[in-house]
Amino acid sequence: MIRTALALSLALLLACSAAPLALAATAHPRASLTDIENDVMCTSCREPLAVAQSPQADSERAYIRGLIAQGLTKQQIEQNLVSQYGESVLGKPPASGFNLAVYILPPAILAVGVAILAVTLPRWRRRAQAAADTPSTSSPAFDPAEAARLEQDLSQFRG
C-alpha cells in the first residue's frame, strides 16, 4: 500500500515537473533585438543592422523593438520586415529566382572541382606509374673505360 502511494506520488511529481518543460519546448522563444539585428540588413546602408549606424538603421531598430513588444516571433518579425522594406532587408536572400545562384553555385562549383579531380588524379597516377615502369633510354650506359675515368676524376675531388 505504501509502495503504491509512493509510486503514485513520484509519478505525479514527474508529471508536474515535465509539463512546464514540454510547454517551453513547444512555445516559440521570445525574439530579441540582438538576434534579429544579426540576420537583417540596414536597407539604405546595405550592411548588417547589427553594425549599421544611420538614421534609417535607428528607425528600423525602433520598428523591430515595437514588433518584439507586440510578442511576435523572430520569423513573424522577419516576414513583417520583408513586407515593409522588401526582400533586401534579409541578410540571406530567399532561395528563389536569381538568388538561387547563391545557394546552387558554390556546391556546384565544388562538385565540378571534385569530379575533375576524380577524373584527372587517377590518370596522372597511371601516367606517373607508366613512366616509372618504363626503362629509361634517354641516357646511354657508360662504357667501362669512361666509367673508370669518371671514378678517377671524382676521387680527386673527394680528396
Binding site: 536597407t43 539604405s44 534609417q56 528607425s59 525602433a62 520598428y63 515595437g66 545562384a101 553555385l105 584527372t120
Partner: protein, 184 residues
C-alpha cells in the same frame, strides 16, 4: 578531343561565374542616364509608369500612368530623413497651387516602414497622395539611391527635371511653372 573536355568545362564554369559577378556589380550600380537625358533636353519617358504602388494608409494602388495628363511632382522620401522633413512644408505649400492647375505632388516612401511613414504624413500635415515602394524597384528605375529626390513629370509622362537632393527656395515653383501651361 577528350584532352580538351576538362579545360573547356573549367573555362565555361569560370566564364559563368565571371558573368554572374559582372551582372551583380552592374545591377548594384547607379543609373544616371535620366539625369544626362534631362540635362540635354531629351526628356525621357517616366519609367515603370504602370507599376502599381500601394497607397499609404489606405487600400488600393496607384500608378504613374493613371496620372497621365497631369503635371506630377514625384517626391521620394522617408520618415527618418531630416532633409525630407525640411522640404515637406515646401511641397505641401506647392500642392495647394498645383491642385488648381491640374497637377499634383505624388509622395513615394522608400526604405521606410508604413507606420513611421504615416506618422510623418500626419506630423507634416501632408495632403497630397503618398504611395509606398516596398521593393524599391520603382524608385531605382529612376536612378534613386537615397532620399530625398524629386522628379518633375510633364503632362505627356516625360521627366523634365530632376533634383537629387533637398528642395530649397523656389526651385520647385520655378521649375514646374512652365510645364503647367502646356496642354494635356
Amino acid at each position: 578531343m577528350r584532352r580538351f573536355a576538362i579545360p573547356a568545362v573549367i573555362i565555361a564554369v569560370a566564364m559563368g561565374v565571371l558573368a554572374l559577378l559582372t551582372f551583380g556589380v552592374a545591377a548594384q550600380g547607379t543609373n544616371s542616364s535620366i539625369d544626362a537625358l534631362v540635362a540635354r533636353g531629351d526628356f525621357p519617358a517616366a519609367p515603370a509608369a504602370h507599376t502599381r504602388l500601394p497607397v499609404l494608409g489606405a487600400a488600393g494602388a496607384q500608378t504613374l500612368a493613371q496620372l497621365r495628363g497631369k503635371v506630377v511632382v514625384l517626391n521620394v522620401f522617408a520618415s527618418w530623413c531630416d532633409p525630407c522633413k525640411a522640404e515637406a512644408p515646401i511641397l505641401e505649400q506647392e500642392q495647394r497651387q498645383l491642385e488648381r492647375d491640374n497637377a499634383t505632388i505624388l509622395g513615394v516612401t522608400y526604405l521606410d516602414n508604413s507606420s513611421a511613414s504615416q506618422s510623418f504624413v500626419r506630423q507634416q500635415h501632408i495632403t497630397y497622395p503618398v504611395v509606398r515602394d516596398v521593393s524599391g524597384n520603382f524608385v531605382r528605375s529612376f536612378g534613386t539611391t537615397g532620399v530625398p529626390e524629386t522628379f518633375v513629370i510633364n503632362r505627356q509622362g516625360r521627366i523634365v527635371a530632376v533634383r537629387r537632393y533637398q528642395l530649397a527656395g523656389n526651385w520647385l515653383q520655378r521649375t514646374v511653372q512652365p510645364f503647367l501651361a502646356e496642354p494635356s
